[in-house]
């Protein structure tokens, strides 16, 4: 039964992603001024939202872990952090590809770029800290949870302060008026990326739980 459900979910996701690709590359017209490269925006913005959903989930799961000490929350925090990092990497790579022809440079120290980069480095540090032992698995989990909470509280402070400093003022387009086809494509791409995010999250979470079970079984075995 469960197998059938998985196949159903996976096929649904595949259809959604192919539809999104079709919409982005075929259905939607090119933007008048920026041309074809603007199409990157559909994935870029959705990935940025997915990354911050991941970071927010690390925050919630970390608080829950400290409260309840149930290992499942820790697995969720780890899975969400990894996906947050992956999706912010997509943002940091797709952004410059768009920026080079439009701004003339790959990178500008503009508030959103800078904030994204800083958030990315913090969560990479989170993953590095997790991968080094602290003497006991329980302690590593507690440390990770504390970092998960502190890191997320820092995100709005970073955003505010980077705005305060910014040499280049806000260059991201705000309140753009989009043609109906563009709006439809945006929502479709967003749905596909978010669905992919949650699907990967579920798989990574289950994998982590299995890995820990194996570790536990291994530890219970008599010395080989």
């Amino acid at each position: 039964m469960r197998r059938h459900l998985n196949v159903l979910v996976e096929s649904g996701l595949a259809v959604l992603m192919i539809a999104a690709l079709f919409a982005v590359f075929v259905y939607v017209p090119s933007e008048r001024e920026m041309g074809v490269v603007q199409r990157i925006f559909y994935f870029h913005v959705s990935s940025a939202i997915a990354a911050f959903v991941g970071f927010a989930m690390v925050f919630v799961a970390s608080i829950q872990y400290l409260r309840t000490r149930r290992e499942n929350w820790d697995c969720l925090a780890l899975a969400a952090a990894e996906l947050g990092v992956v999706f912010s990497l997509i943002v940091l790579i797709s952004g410059p590809i768009w920026a080079k022809p439009i701004w003339g440079v790959f990178w500008r120290w503009e508030p959103r770029l800078t904030s994204m980069l800083i958030a990315f480095t913090i969560y990479v540090a989170y993953l590095i800290v997790r991968s080094y032992t602290t003497g006991s698995p329980d302690r590593t989990r507690r440390f990770a949870a504390v970092i998960g909470v502190v890191a997320f509280v820092n995100v709005p402070l970073v955003y505010y302060s980077v705005n305060l400093w910014s040499a280049d003022q806000q260059l991201h387009p705000r309140e753009v008026e989009l043609a109906p086809a563009m709006v439809q494509t945006r929502y479709l791409a967003f749905a596909a990326i978010i669905a992919l995010f949650f699907y990967l999250l579920k798989r990574r979470y289950e994998l982590e739980k299995l890995a820990r079970n194996v570790e536990r079984l291994d530890a219970d075995l008599p010395l080989h």
């Binding site: 480095t121 540090a125 602290t134 302690r139 507690r142 970092i147 980077v162 400093w165």
Partner: protein, 236 residues
């Protein structure tokens, strides 16, 4: 003993240890001077560019020196095998954080104050009265670094990453505070230089006030977080 008494007792212990050995402040001050020396080879620091890159240089030096020293907050307790005793003592865990944070705050501020005169001397910043405005920037900057640094130093002693642990987390976390430290310092340097040539100066310009507010907010947020979370770090 009440909460304040507990905090003050540990704080006094750390301060008198440092007073006798000076093993944290002295190397830090020298380290700051060495960084300034190295930066001097990359940039011509005096004169007009002082208020442009001087503050960044100064705070880079402060933060690198701070990172080296912050690891010792709990590492020295561990070397002397006194950490367990501290944790066994019938005191509130957050009082332990508070006292360690305050001692770090004192050390960091002392280092900043000791290295400021050589900075002015080597980079031709005449010490006019407006330079006094730097004091609130230094105090709040040290408070921010002490809060973040103490929280993570309690973790760094256990991690296999050892000395690499602190920079990895403290540097990105400190970005909001660092921006305002550098911004505020730039304002103050600017006013000082203008005062030196007889221009009109503006005490507490809008820019400086905004930066000070940011630093105050950051210090409060992180101290509150650390007070809440510290017990989860040291629990055994």
């Amino acid at each position: 003993m009440n909460y304040v008494g507990q905090t003050i007792t540990i704080l006094r212990k750390d301060l008198s240890l440092e007073w006798r050995s000076k093993e944290r402040i002295t190397p830090m001050v020298l380290f700051v001077l060495l960084i300034l020396l190295v930066f001097n080879f990359s940039f011509e620091l005096g004169g007009a560019v002082l208020s442009e890159i001087g503050p960044g240089v100064l705070w880079s030096a402060f933060i690198f020196a701070g990172l080296l020293s912050l690891h010792r907050t709990f590492a020295s307790e561990r070397q002397n095998e006194t950490l367990d005793a501290l944790l066994l003592a019938p005191i509130d865990r957050s009082a332990l954080y508070l006292s360690k944070m305050l001692s770090n705050f004192v050390f960091l501020l002392a280092v900043q104050l000791f290295s400021l005169p050589p900075f002015c001397f080597f980079f031709n910043l005449s010490p006019e009265p407006p330079l006094l405005l730097l004091l609130p920037v230094l105090v709040l900057g040290a408070a921010c670094l002490a809060a973040v640094g103490t929280l993570f130093a309690a973790m760094s002693i256990h991690s296999r990453l050892r000395e690499q642990f602190l920079p990895l987390l403290v540097l990105p976390m400190m970005v909001p505070a660092l921006i305002s430290c550098i911004g505020g310092t730039a304002e103050v340097f600017d006013q000082t230089q203008r005062f030196a040539i007889g221009d009109q100066v503006e005490i507490f310009s809008d820019g400086l006030v905004t930066h000070l507010q940011m630093l105050g907010t950051y210090a409060m947020v992180f101290n509150a977080l650390a007070l809440m979370l510290f017990e989860y770090i040291v629990e055994e």
